[in-house]
Symmetry: C2
Subunit: 395 residues, 2 copies
Amino acid sequence: MANGTGPQPALRRRNLSAVVHAVAAGDNISRAAVAAEVGLTRATVSTLVDELIAAGLVTELGAQRPGTVGRPGTALALSTRGPAGVGAEVGVDHLAACVVDLRGTERARVTVEARNRGRAAAQTLGELAGLVQQVTEEAAALGLHPAGLTVAVPGLVGRGRHTVLRAPNLGWTDETTDLTVENEANLGALAELWLGGHHSHPAPTATPTPTPHLTDFIHVSAEIGIGAALVINGSLFRGSRGFAGELGHVPVYPDGPRCSCGARGCLEQYAGEEAVLRAAGIAPELPGRLKALRTGAADGEAPVLAALETAGRALGIALSGAVNLLDPQAVVLGGPLSELAPWLLPGVRRELGQRVTGGGALVVESRLGRDGVLLGAAYSAVRAILDDPSEWIAR
Amino acid sequence: MANGTGPQPALRRRNLSAVVHAVAAGDNISRAAVAAEVGLTRATVSTLVDELIAAGLVTELGAQRPGTVGRPGTALALSTRGPAGVGAEVGVDHLAACVVDLRGTERARVTVEARNRGRAAAQTLGELAGLVQQVTEEAAALGLHPAGLTVAVPGLVGRGRHTVLRAPNLGWTDETTDLTVENEANLGALAELWLGGHHSHPAPTATPTPTPHLTDFIHVSAEIGIGAALVINGSLFRGSRGFAGELGHVPVYPDGPRCSCGARGCLEQYAGEEAVLRAAGIAPELPGRLKALRTGAADGEAPVLAALETAGRALGIALSGAVNLLDPQAVVLGGPLSELAPWLLPGVRRELGQRVTGGGALVVESRLGRDGVLLGAAYSAVRAILDDPSEWIAR
């Protein structure tokens, strides 16, 4: 405890993280404001800030509020060069990769169509590696260096994050990789937690209303299946085996149609992409099928509206159970599903209003939409640096 | 930080708690074994133990393992005198109070029948105060002194724990009291967490199988309504408004019969006590009605078996959703419901087996049964002492 590896480095680690988070949260914040924010002396903060600047994590933006009297504080901000997070995404019919800087701003991105259903995992991941290479090179030209890569997959991921236990829509079972993989619904929820920003959306024409930063919410997304993830006390909740958030197999009509999982009447049978497309009369293999769904809904096509009404109601029933159990601050609709929010939300809100103890629940729409998963994947490495800058500095 | 109220007392507080918890968990444990367990020097532990002994929380039981060679360690145990926890329970048709010692052993108890439905809260709580007085006097004769009282109620409790927001089965709305109140389902779950002990119960005749200590579970109990509580990471999970665990209003058959909450097809309409009694043809006001249900089931009466089959299936459907969302280590059946476990569990297990991602869930039956709620209420004060003995010592 007294040999220099004990409390002092731990304290320094915590303080560095507190300072860098204060800089991240502040809008061109001064050293004095950081000191006030984190409760350390200005001298201590100055030393830590100098370390962060030397490490390329923080930059000085010149005088803050130049019009004010006295010696102006120097405004601090996270660097737009230096370490960056790389994210990649395996969808059922697309691949994508992107780079975000420390501020969470996307700086490079590439998306390609790809038929990944039933394709060998090695082949899919090989093509993905090419995209990662491409965005990494683009980012390097901007002075950004990859600090970590996370690959989003539509499936269950093992605890070590190097095995996809099963991704039925890709046809993957027990695929192990050197890459760090994570469930797409989890990453969408983390993006919401980290990069925030959502708005209430009572009707397609209403003005979005900002809501406070959420730390306890159910995040619902969908691509083919229904993905959900729980954020509890500001952390992703994974459950005892890492299987938490399986909203898609919550029973909605217990005697309903047989699901791919073997049970009957799961939410996925009413609100999963395939089920909705089938009910709407749109071919599930059609490229741009979600756009077709949106267009059909906007044009008032009866089968499309009916399919979305059924989906919204089923989603509302399943979420009523979830909200009654978890009493979250909000339900957040994200991922591709959020693009259908204007047609899904009325049913969701109606069921929640009728079924939730204590009178309904706040339902908000993610501003990140379908970008959330990829941004969450990319920001994971950035978040790790902000949570422990000393480790990055020691590299 | 250097004026004597900072880290040192905090450290002492943590260490005292670690030591007293080690004594509580150990079976006649020695000072040396406590030191090994908590990772402190033997000298420090001895000082802390002496403090705990002086405060009447810990006693010495004389030489440990007298047959061993060398200076025998003195066995330590929690005191069976001194501070005690008092619990009280308001049921729909009974009142109860009990006292437990530091070891969690019940030392005094009284239960009376009472028609509390629709009775004025003040009257009910007045009668309850008499019972508390009675058990407190009994306990005093045993050298036990009340350290705190918690009253279990079948309803929603406000954050400050002095208001029952609503207890529909009692007819209470916004009843405020000087007493500390807590939801009965929460206390049942806490009793399970603290006093543990449950067994798998695949069939009425099978030998109970012990299962490991649980820290993440859904605890289901019932008296009239269905109560549930979530324990996550070894703590009761209350939700953002304190409403978490409302399993009774999880939709099971969304177009089913109208529930008292206004929605349709809630679990309570199939597995709540009133619904089961109605389906079984037993008068809901009958004293000993649960016993009648048990007897009828044991005698193979068809309507009773059918009612319990329906209830078990509905419980299994609602719990499937809950397990898919939360991925707990286990579902624990407790409260009066556990007495019907032999007839409910087959349906519960069948639905979970078919509907839970990853193949079913462990379902266990609480050994505490209907005593859990009252014991949890009484042990609350004891737990507070064990978690911070220094505060008790400073009184």
